[in-house]
């Protein structure tokens, strides 16, 4: 996933825009390794309300076949999805367990 995304690259000052403008695509900057806690969704309880998808500050929740899927390449484990879920069916689990 992340490895397919293109990094914006400059060689010389002349190629830079005058101001800092998308110097690198965040798509080429996977932040999943920042995570201590991992969200796990119990899809049997999920009502597909899309609230987790809307609230994720990193757009790290994809919507696939009518269900939320966490993109672990980018999820920093902030837990906002678990906090906002009205069914409380997202659990934050310690990484490595």
């Amino acid at each position: 996933m992340a490895k397919d995304r293109k990094k914006i690259d400059f060689k010389k000052m002349e190629e830079l825009p005058p101001m800092v403008m998308s110097l690198r695509s965040m798509a080429a900057n996977p932040t999943g390794s920042w995570r201590n806690l991992k969200p796990v969704i119990d899809l049997s309880q999920c009502i597909q309300c899309t609230i987790c998808w809307k609230f994720c500050p990193d757009a790290a929740i994809d919507w696939i076949d009518d269900n939320p899927v966490i993109n672990l390449d980018f999820c920093k484990g902030c837990g906002i999805c678990a906090e906002e879920c009205p069914k409380k069916c997202i659990e934050m689990i310690k990484e490595g367990k």
């Binding site: 830079l16 101001m19 403008m21 998308s22 110097l23």
Partner: protein, 383 residues
């Protein structure tokens, strides 16, 4: 069309003629009438613009930054504590290369609480990447707003128009309001190449590592160098259309002057009266009015002061524990290029009037001295 107006309204007319599209401002004495009149002009639909009421000057500049990023011609005005509150976003506007124009009416900084004029507020923002144009008349104020947008949009750096509280802001003078059609021709609509565009999304101002940060700073510095070229170019272009000439510096009888009084803002008008009186008594005195602080006109300052035997810089500001701020600037331009002795006098802080007598006193204090015996001198203080 000629009209008698206060300096603050000259700014409003300048912004209106420039067809600004977004105005965001917070009121502060002595700036209030600038945006008061603009709000009426917008409400009367004589100017197609968004007038955004904000809760602070910090927010006013933030709104201008947003508007300018989206490609709108943005305007604001402030004074003293308001300008200081904007400080963080002044860096942001310049670093984001947004050609915002702002008027700052020089009001002394508190405490002690004050509303009267001196230049410490704007000069304290010297290193934020804003151009600064200091004005001497209400006509110059109006014209400078229009020229400011022209220069700012060419080099993508913001401009601060600076004028003295009360002695310009609230003083009525005859001002020629240029024809809108001529202004439209001189100042075409702002076409911003890097604007926010939902069809072509970008991240702005993002984290930049040491690998590239410095290159962005070089680009800002080079834009300021280019701005100096553009200011000189516009001095000619503006005169061609409107008949009035505004350069980086404004000399008065300096060619054969042995002593040159260097001033900025309205103190120059008084200095010129004093020069006339002193000339009538056979004293070879001249006046150099500094108009542009940034980009600093090194070559013009050196050229204008090349014949002087004595240079006296009169600052309406002070860098505590150093010199007046204009004195630092002018001295640094002369260093290594000229042996002329330089005196620095501090006058008129907190709105104390600068009279012709102030300049006679300064000339008398310098007298026949060959060089200054103090780093700086205070005039007309109660000791």
């Amino acid at each position: 069309m000629k009209k008698v107006m206060m300096g603050n309204h000259a700014i409003s007319y300048g912004a209106t003629l420039s067809r600004v599209q977004v105005i965001a401002a917070y009121p502060i004495t002595p700036q209030t009438q600038v945006v008061e009149l603009l709000s009426e002009i917008v409400a009367d639909q004589k100017l197609k613009a968004e007038f955004i009421k904000v809760e602070s000057e910090h927010s006013a500049m933030a709104a201008c930054i947003g508007a300018s990023s989206a490609g709108a011609r943005a305007f604001t005005a402030t004074s003293a504590q308001g300008l200081a509150l904007m400080h963080e976003l002044l860096h942001w506007a310049a670093g984001a290369r947004l050609p915002i124009v702002m008027a700052n009416i020089n009001r002394a900084m508190a405490p002690p609480w004050t509303i009267w004029s001196d230049q410490n507020d704007s000069l304290s923002q010297r290193d934020t990447g804003w151009m600064q144009f200091y004005c001497q008349s209400n006509q110059e104020v109006l014209d400078s707003v229009i020229i400011a947008y022209k220069v700012a949009e060419k080099v993508l750096m913001p401009v601060m128009i600076v004028l003295d509280a009360f002695s310009l802001s609230h003083t009525y003078e005859s001002v020629d309001i240029p024809d809108q059609a001529l202004v439209d021709k001189y100042l075409p609509p702002f076409d911003y190449k890097y604007k926010l565009d939902v069809q072509n999304p970008h991240t702005y101002g993002g984290l930049t590592t040491p690998e590239w940060y410095m290159e962005f700073r070089i680009k800002m510095h080079e834009a300021m160098d280019q701005a100096l070229v553009e200011i000189k170019k516009e001095a000619v272009a503006f005169k061609k259309v409107f008949g009035r000439h505004y350069d980086t510096v404004d000399p008065y009888m300096v060619d054969d002057a042995e002593t040159v009084l260097v001033t900025s803002g309205t103190a120059a008008s008084t200095a010129r009266y004093a020069v006339d009186q002193l000339r009538a008594k056979g004293k070879k005195v001249g006046n150099l009015r500094m108009r542009v602080l940034r980009p600093f006109p090194f070559a013009d300052v050196r050229e204008q002061l090349k014949n002087a035997k004595k240079v006296i810089i009169v600052d309406r500001d002070i860098s505590y524990g150093y010199h007046g701020i204009w004195a630092q600037e002018v001295k640094s331009a002369l260093y290594g290029h000229s042996q002329v002795p330089v005196w620095n006098f501090i006058a008129g802080l907190g709105g104390r009037d600068i009279f012709p007598e102030t300049f006679y006193d300064i000339i008398a204090q310098v007298g026949k001295k060959k060089k200054p015996d103090q780093e700086l001198y205070w005039v007309e203080v109660k000791r």
